[in-house]
Symmetry: C2
Subunit: 510 residues, 2 copies
């Protein structure tokens, strides 16, 4: 018996992952933990994947709906994707196998703002006829004597799934450090219309909830003990192009501070996941800003650096997304980090109410941006969906500064990140303030679409693509059947994409 | 001397509109009142328009930046548009002359979420080098003895403009009924990071501010007396197609109540402006729902009907948009309406914090929607921008229900409101839950893009367009160079639009 299960009543619920998975019927709707490669269930999903194979061999269907916080690890999305044990997936995915299944059209996926996940489930939109989920399958660190639950390395949408599911399966993962206890701030955004109050977070470091989950213990159908590591990817050292992007952003911050629009310690930083975002954090760590705070989704290695150097006072998030090396460093210094890091439900970390109140700086990657400032964060023309919008929309819509960043080209310069019309639009012209590449920072604030086009082409587009972008824009301005506010030529709006799909290069042949 | 100016010090500031306008230099940045055809300044803008002509005759430029709450009336946008006295306009427009100037490319326009207008101005993005505006030009109903100001028929972004402008010009409009006093709830969303608290509105009828503006009287540079009516368009009686749309929405509400997802008195209603929105209100008035509330942007005639019948308990908004007939009725019953109607700053009426907390039902018109659920609210292919996104994004992103409604066709059936790819995207697939036409209600909740396509084509598209929409979708699904998550054929994505521009019909010739 694991020494992580201290509540007497729940000790009797301990069983194998296979026994727990056997309780889940075909067609069940599951709310599962997991946000990035952290805190997702690691045994029951594998058991469900195996069960899907067994049932299929008997000629029977076995598919479930899998709702999570965001992406998870291979034990969930890869195993259940490979075996097509999932019929419907929501609200985010980062797994390559699962992605292939979406783009092959065999698993249905809804890509959704992460702040919406919990509330839409609570509204009943993903439930059975009685609006409930069948099971919440949640990884936890520990079950305390009083039955309260120490959360794992992500909080995600767990409070919503606990609220709405009929039964619970808890995975107690002994790999998670028990000293995580006290790092979480569990505040539940629920209640009906007229009952919900403000979320009392005024600053990134405000704690407004409890360190543990309090759940209805009678709903616990199974407790499964695991001892498996989270799986997050290592970060690469920033490449030259990433460093240039980071420098443009730092220079922009300098300008804003000098202009009196931004305080010297900046505003609460939100940073997307990935190598560019990490490069910005590295740049901030090498730079001169002090006393910063972060109100974001995930804690990545660059955040640990900033906490270690003392330049960052606090990091609020909903999950860890640290590299294996970062994990070692994290565990070593966990007692210090516990005072500096707060993990909240994604209902709170991504809530428009808090983000707008505290006026974040949102920094997220993009796939492509068009000349008028619409941004594609999710789709690659010719391939399909990549990951998903994640929390970028929550932060982009509500922050004081909304910055999207990407190298200006991909595929050895054959793909331009700046195009006439984005082939999928996740963030509209109304929600984008800065488009940054290694070539510069296009500042879109207070500009009309035409003014933005000039700024984006001249500052952000790769020089070799500027002539054909200007050509498109100028001929669109002269197009007699287009208004000159946001002019397009619809025959050619996707010409960069169609050319690439035909020739492998967005540039025309010379 | 007007008996509406009771503060002694400000009596000395009374002057003509021409004298006030003469204080405004070329290139000035003005924050002006006005939201729909209500509460906008009616004399100084005309004087500015005349001044632009005079200066032009002298060979001198005269152009200002005009920031408002939303649309205004002809005295502002038509007069200043005609004379090209505006160089940059923000955040919304509904005037035909101004629209022509945008689409001719001679006046720059930024179309922006209305909840953003005040905060972006406060952040300093629209100001001079010192981040301030030059003048706030604000229509008011009365200046009280103590110098507090009774607002006019709209509140809009006035609190932001008072906060950020260096000087004020007040237009005291004697046409506005003095009994408006007490109807407003002025709560200022300002302060720096770490200073801003929650907006304490928990229900549509919560009053959290003061009935008057308290301003820095030393900044008042001029007081101009006017006596001019607001100008809002009359509503048409609902046409058959509008009634059908309304009925689909009412049927949807019935289903949600029955399913236990919506209370019997519904949720706070937000309703866009226009004939379809009004038809829904008429339908609700003839229907069986009681005890409703409204948390919206504008009070239109249908809202007055619902208040008169007692089916609606309270209507919270930021402006009136009642027809001339509605205005007569309003003035007649103003003492009752004062208890039922609350006018707030658009910072509050449209704030994501409040909208998400109280879980509104958002109902807004659309120009076109694509098969995957992206919505164009602003642009007409071949013409340019129409009005703007207004508050539709504020409500669509944050409400519990997000419904977009339009007739399925326009121009005698030659234009389909459902297209393969929207020619401009204002609301993405992540923000749309219902697409409604006279043919039905496409319920997009919990559906993948492919599932949404089926729902939209079968329920919302006009029957005569369904075959060519299915043809596009099916061939896109078979397109080897498209992922099957949101498949497109980029050569044909805008084929409906290009065909219409060539032949005047989105349908191919038979």
């Amino acid at each position: 018996m694991s020494n992580r299960i201290l509540h007497k009543g729940l000790k009797s619920k301990v069983m194998s992952a296979e026994e727990a998975a056997a309780m889940i019927p075909n067609g069940a709707i599951l709310g599962m933990s997991g946000f990035t490669g952290a805190g997702y269930p690691k045994a029951v999903p594998i058991a469900l994947a195996k069960r899907a194979i067994e049932e299929r061999m008997k000629g029977k269907p076995f598919k479930v709906t899998a709702l999570t916080g965001a992406s998870t690890g291979p034990e969930l999305d890869q195993a259940m994707g490979l075996t097509e044990a999932i019929s419907f997936r929501f609200p985010y995915n980062g797994d390559a196998v699962m992605r292939e299944k979406f783009n092959a059209g065999v698993i249905e996926y809804q890509d959704m703002h992460l702040s919406h996940a919990g509330s839409l489930v609570r509204y009943g939109y993903y439930g059975r006829k009685d609006n409930k989920l069948d099971f919440a399958v949640i990884e936890v660190t520990k079950i305390k004597e009083d039955g309260t639950i120490v959360p794992s390395s992500s909080v995600g949408a767990n409070t919503a799934y606990f609220d709405v599911a009929e039964k619970y399966i808890l995975e107690v993962n002994e790999w998670q450090d028990e000293r995580l206890e006290g790092m979480h701030d569990i505040y539940t955004v629920s209640g009906k219309h007229g009952e919900r109050g403000p979320i009392p977070v005024m600053k990134a470091d405000d704690r407004v909830g409890t360190p543990t989950y309090t759940i209805d213990l009678s709903k616990v159908a199974a407790v499964v003990v695991t001892n498996n590591p989270d799986r997050n990817a290592p970060f690469k050292a920033p490449e030259d192009v990433h460093k240039k992007i980071a420098q443009h952003i730092l220079d922009f911050f300098d300008g804003e501070v000098k202009a009196g629009r931004m305080p010297k310690n900046l505003l609460p930083l939100q940073s997307g996941v990935g190598n560019i975002a990490n490069a910005v954090l590295v740049g901030l760590n090498e730079g001169h800003f002090e006393g910063m705070t972060s109100y974001t989704e995930v804690i990545q290695d660059g955040m640990l650096d900033l906490l270690d150097s003392g330049k960052l006072k606090v990091a609020s998030a909903t999950a860890f997304s640290v590299s294996p090396d970062g994990q070692v460093r994290f565990n070593k210094n966990i007692d210090r980090y516990r005072k500096q890091i707060i993990l909240r439900p994604q209902d709170v970390s991504n809530h428009p109410e808090v983000i707008r109140r505290i006026a974040c700086i949102a920094m997220n990657g993009f796939v492509e941006a068009d000349i008028y400032g619409h941004v594609n964060s999710t789709h690659i023309a010719g391939k399909g969906i990549e990951n998903g919008i994640g929390g970028s929309g929550d932060f982009a819509r509500n922050s004081a500064y909304t910055i999207f960043m990407s190298p200006a080209t991909a595929k050895d310069g054959k793909i331009s990140a700046i195009v006439p019309f984005a082939s999928h639009i996740d963030h509209t012209e109304h929600d984008t303030m800065g488009i940054v590449t290694e070539f510069g920072f296009a500042d879109l604030r207070g500009k009309s679409p035409k003014q933005r086009a000039k700024e984006i082409i001249e500052k952000a587009a790769a020089p070799e693509f500027r002539p054909i972008l200007w050509d498109y824009f100028k001929r669109s301005m002269a197009n007699p059947s287009a208004g000159r506010h946001t002019p397009h030529m619809f025959e050619e709006a996707f010409s960069f994409h169609t050319r690439f799909l035909k020739t492998g290069d967005m540039k025309p042949k010379k």
